[in-house]
C-alpha cells in the first residue's frame, strides 16, 4: 500500500470535509485592519448604494472551494449585492475546488483576463498570499475575506474583511448565563484539532464565564474534537452522555451535525440540553419536531454570516469604481435565534427552504433556493 497515496487521499478528503462545513473557516487572526481611511469616492447616482461608484468595472469572485451549501448561499449573496450596482459590467466566478494550486492559478487567470477587482475566499490561507500580492501589484483591487491570508492590507492586498469568532463565543456565553441561571455543566464541541475558529469561540466564552464559577466545562477543553463530522459528533456525544451524568448545555459551531446526535439522548434516556450554535434550517426544524414530541429544549443561534460576502463586494466595488468605501472591515457576529426571548428572532424553521439552507441569509427564499440548486 502506498502510504503516500493513502495519505493524499486522506488529506484531500479531510480538506473537502473541512470545506463542506458551512461557516467553519479558519481565521488565523489576520492583521489589524485599519485601512478604512475616509473615503474620497461618491456614488454614481442617487439610485444606487453609496459604495457603487461611476467608473465601469469588471468584478470576480475567486472561491477556494465552492461546493457546499454555505458557499453556494454566500456566492448567491455576493451576486445579489453586485446586482445593485450597474457600474459592474461583468462578473466572473472561479471555484478552486479545495485545490490550492487551482485557487492560485484561478487568481492569476483573473488578473491576466484584466479583471478590475476581485473578492477572494483564501481557503489555503498564507499559501495564496503571493498570488494575492501579485494581483494587488498588478493594480487589481484585491479583497480577501473570512480566512486570513496573512500579509498586510495596503501592501499585499487592498482590504481584508474579517470576523471575530470570539464574539460568537461571547454571545453564546451570555445566553448560557441567562438560561442556566449561572450554574451548570457545558459541553463544548468544535472542529478538527487546533483550529482557530473553535479555539476563538472557546476563548470568547471563557472571557464571560470566568465570572460565573458555577458554570463549568465538562469533557475535553478547549473543545471536543468532532472534525465537523456528523458521525463523529454522534460518537462524541454518546461518550459524553455515558461519562457525565449531568450536561446542562452544549455549545458547537456546527449545529446541523449536532442534530444527528439527538437519538443518542433518547438512547441514554436523557433530555436534549440547551444548545448554543450557528443557525441552520435543519436544526431549527428539528427543534420544532422535538418540541412537538414533548422533548423541547432551549436553542440559541448566531448568524451563519453568509452576508459577509456582501461586505467584501462593497469594499472591492467601492475601491475600483470610485464609490464611498464602507467604514469597517470587520463583519460583526450577531445573534439570530433565541428560543427563550424570541429576540432577535424566535427559532425559525422554513419548510419552503431546503434543510441545508440558512434562514439567517439575507437572500429571498427564491434566491436562496436558486443559489442552492
Amino acid at each position: 500500500m502506498s502510504s503516500r497515496t493513502v495519505r493524499r487521499v486522506v488529506f484531500a478528503s479531510l480538506g473537502v470535509l473541512t470545506m463542506a462545513i458551512s461557516a467553519c473557516s479558519i481565521n488565523t487572526g489576520g492583521p489589524a485592519n485599519n485601512n478604512t481611511q475616509a473615503a474620497a469616492g461618491k456614488p454614481a447616482n442617487a439610485n444606487v448604494p453609496s459604495w457603487c461608484g461611476s467608473k465601469q468595472i469588471s468584478l470576480a469572485l475567486a472561491d477556494g472551494f465552492g461546493d457546499n451549501n454555505w458557499r453556494k448561499v454566500t456566492v448567491g449573496e455576493a451576486k445579489a449585492e453586485i446586482a445593485k450596482c450597474p457600474s459592474v459590467t461583468s462578473f466572473s466566478y472561479t471555484d478552486g475546488q479545495g485545490n490550492t494550486q487551482k485557487a492560485i492559478s484561478d487568481i492569476q487567470g483573473l488578473v491576466a483576463k484584466g479583471t478590475t477587482a476581485m473578492v477572494v475566499f483564501p481557503d489555503a490561507g498564507q499559501a495564496v498570499l503571493p498570488a494575492l500580492r501579485s494581483a494587488f501589484k498588478a493594480g487589481v483591487v484585491t479583497v480577501p475575506y473570512r480566512v486570513s491570508p496573512g500579509g498586510t492590507a495596503g501592501q499585499d492586498y487592498d482590504y481584508y474583511i474579517s470576523t471575530d469568532f470570539k464574539q460568537a463565543g461571547v454571545l453564546w456565553a451570555n445566553w448560557l448565563v441567562k438560561v442556566l441561571n449561572g450554574k451548570g455543566n457545558v459541553l463544548n464541541l468544535g472542529g478538527p484539532p487546533a483550529n482557530s475558529q473553535s479555539l476563538a469561540e472557546y476563548q470568547g466564552m471563557q472571557s464571560v464565564l470566568k465570572n460565573y464559577p458555577n458554570i463549568k466545562f465538562v469533557g475535553t477543553t478547549p473543545y471536543e474534537v468532532t472534525n465537523w463530522d456528523a458521525a463523529t459528533t454522534q460518537q462524541v456525544v454518546t461518550a459524553a452522555l455515558a461519562k457525565y451524568p449531568k450536561i446542562d448545555a452544549i455549545t458547537t459551531d456546527f449545529g446541523a451535525a449536532l442534530d444527528s446526535a439527538f437519538p443518542a439522548f433518547a438512547q441514554a434516556g436523557r433530555q436534549v440540553p440547551a444548545i448554543a450554535t450557528e443557525d441552520a434550517n435543519q436544526l431549527a426544524c428539528d427543534w420544532q419536531t422535538q418540541k412537538a414530541a414533548g422533548k423541547g429544549f432551549q436553542l440559541f443561534t448566531v448568524s451563519s454570516q453568509n452576508a459577509m460576502s456582501r461586505l467584501a463586494v462593497d469594499f472591492a466595488v467601492a475601491k475600483a469604481s470610485g464609490g464611498v468605501i464602507p467604514k469597517s472591515t470587520v463583519f460583526p457576529q450577531s445573534a439570530f435565534e433565541d428560543s427563550v426571548s424570541g429576540q432577535p428572532h424566535p427559532v425559525t424553521c422554513d419548510k419552503s427552504l431546503p434543510p441545508d439552507a440558512f434562514v439567517s441569509s439575507t437572500l429571498s427564499q427564491a434566491q436562496q433556493i436558486a443559489a442552492l440548486k
Binding site: 487521499v9 470535509l17 461546493d67 451549501n69 475535553t220 455515558a242 437519538p263 438512547q267
Partner: protein
C-alpha cells in the same frame, strides 16, 4: 513456516507472512471443524481484553447507552471490512471505500429527500451504482492487470465526482423509514447489528466452508498455481471487487440511516479503519487466506477502542497515540517472529548466566 502448505490446496510458499500458518482449513482441518484461525482467536482475545480493560478503567464506556451508540458504527465498519477482506484476499487493496460509501449515503438521502416512499428505488439505485463501480474496478484490475491502488483511487475519484454532482456537497437528512431500518431496535439491539451479524455469517461461511470459497482463497494465495489447476483466476478477482463494492454500498445505506444528517463525504473516515480491521483480523496484505469473521470482530474492536478513548476524555493527540499503540500491538502479533525473539532472549539470558559464573 514449514506447515504453510500442509493439507492445503495451495502450493504457495512465496507468502512470507506467518499469517498463513493459521492452517485451520483445508481438507485435514475440516475434520476438526470449528477450530478458528489464529487471526480469529487473536482478535477475539484482544477484543475481550479490551472490553475488560474498558470495564476496569472506564466502566461508563460500557454503559448501555454507550454500547448502543457504538454498535451501529461497529456494524457499518464490520460490513466494510468484509468487503475489504475479499479484495485483500485477492492481493489487492480497495481505496474506493470512501467513494462507494459516500455515494450510497448520498443516493439514499438525496434521492428520496425525506420521502420514505422513494426509499426502495433509491436503495436499488445505490446498489446499481455500486455494482457498476465494482465491475469497473474489477475489470481494470483483473483483465488489464492494472495495479489495484491506482485503479481504486481512480474509481474513488469518479465516485466523488458523482457524489458532488448529486449533492453539490451539502447534506440532506435521512428519511424516517431508513432511520428506523438502521437504528430501530429488536431485543434492545439496533437493526444494523443484525445486518452485520447475518452478512458476516454468510460471507464467513461462503469463504471458509464452501467450495467456491476454497477456490476464491486458492486464487488469492497463488494465482499462477490456481490458473494451472484450471480455476478462473480473473473471474475470481473481478468477483472480489464486485462483492466488496456491494458490501460497501450496504454499509453506506446503513450509515445513511444511522447518521440522521450525513455529510456528503461520510465515507471518508472509513478507509483506514477498514484496512486496519483486515490487518488486525489476520488477513495477509499479500493476499491468500483470510478470515472475514476475524475482520468483522476487529471492526468491533476498533469501534470499542474509539468509544473507550472518547470516554476516557484524553486530548486528541493522546487518543491517536492510544489507537496507534493498539494497532501496532495487533500487527506485531502477526509480524514479529515470536519464536526467534524468545530464542534470542533465552540466549541473552544464558550469556548473562555464563558471565555471572
Amino acid at each position: 513456516m514449514s506447515d504453510t502448505a500442509k493439507g492445503s490446496l495451495m502450493p504457495d510458499t512465496s507468502d512470507p507472512t506467518p499469517v498463513v500458518q493459521s492452517g485451520s482449513d483445508g481438507p485435514e482441518a475440516r475434520a476438526w471443524t470449528g477450530r478458528a484461525s489464529r487471526g480469529l482467536v487473536t482478535i477475539i482475545i484482544a477484543t475481550v481484553a479490551l472490553f475488560v480493560v474498558s470495564l476496569v478503567v472506564q466502566p461508563e464506556s460500557l454503559s448501555r447507552s454507550s454500547i448502543q451508540g457504538m454498535l451501529p458504527f461497529a456494524a457499518v465498519l464490520a460490513i466494510i471490512a468484509l468487503g475489504q477482506t475479499l479484495v485483500i484476499q485477492q492481493g489487492g487493496i480497495d481505496l474506493s471505500v470512501p467513494g462507494t460509501v459516500s455515494l450510497s449515503v448520498i443516493i439514499v438521502t438525496h434521492y428520496p429527500n425525506g420521502n420514505s416512499g422513494k426509499l426502495l428505488p433509491a436503495i436499488l439505485l445505490a446498489y446499481a451504482a455500486a455494482l457498476a463501480a465494482g465491475l469497473l474496478t474489477g475489470w481494470f484490475v483483473s483483465r488489464l492487470g492494472m495495479s489495484a491502488i491506482v485503479t481504486t483511487l481512480g474509481t474513488n475519484a469518479l465516485l466523488y465526482a458523482a457524489v458532488l454532482g448529486i449533492s453539490g456537497g451539502s447534506p440532506t437528512s435521512t428519511t424516517s423509514a431508513m432511520h428506523t431500518i438502521a437504528t430501530g431496535q429488536f431485543l434492545g439491539v439496533s437493526h444494523a447489528v443484525y445486518f452485520a451479524v447475518v452478512i458476516t455469517a454468510v460471507v464467513g461461511f461462503l469463504i471458509k466452508r464452501s467450495v467456491a470459497g476454497r477456490r476464491f482463497e486458492a486464487v488469492g494465495a497463488n494465482p499462477a498455481a490456481a490458473d494451472l489447476v484450471g480455476l478462473r483466476v480473473r473471474r475470481h478477482q473481478l468477483g472480489a471487487y464486485v462483492w466488496a463494492s456491494l458490501l460497501y454500498c450496504t454499509a453506506g445505506i446503513l450509515l445513511g440511516g444511522i447518521v440522521t444528517t450525513p455529510g456528503a463525504f461520510q465515507g471518508d473516515s472509513q478507509l483506514l479503519p477498514s484496512v486496519a480491521a483486515v490487518v488486525l483480523g489476520g488477513t495477509s496484505l499479500l493476499g491468500g487466506k483470510g478470515s472475514p469473521v476475524a475482520s468483522a470482530v476487529a471492526a468491533l474492536f476498533l469501534s470499542q477502542l474509539d468509544q473507550f478513548v472518547l470516554t476516557l476524555g484524553v486530548n486528541p493527540a493522546a487518543s491517536n497515540i492510544v489507537q496507534a499503540l493498539a494497532l501496532a500491538a495487533g500487527v506485531a502479533v502477526y509480524t514479529v517472529n515470536w519464536t526467534a525473539l524468545r530464542g534470542w532472549l533465552r540466549r541473552r539470558g544464558s550469556v548473562r548466566d555464563v558471565l555471572r559464573t
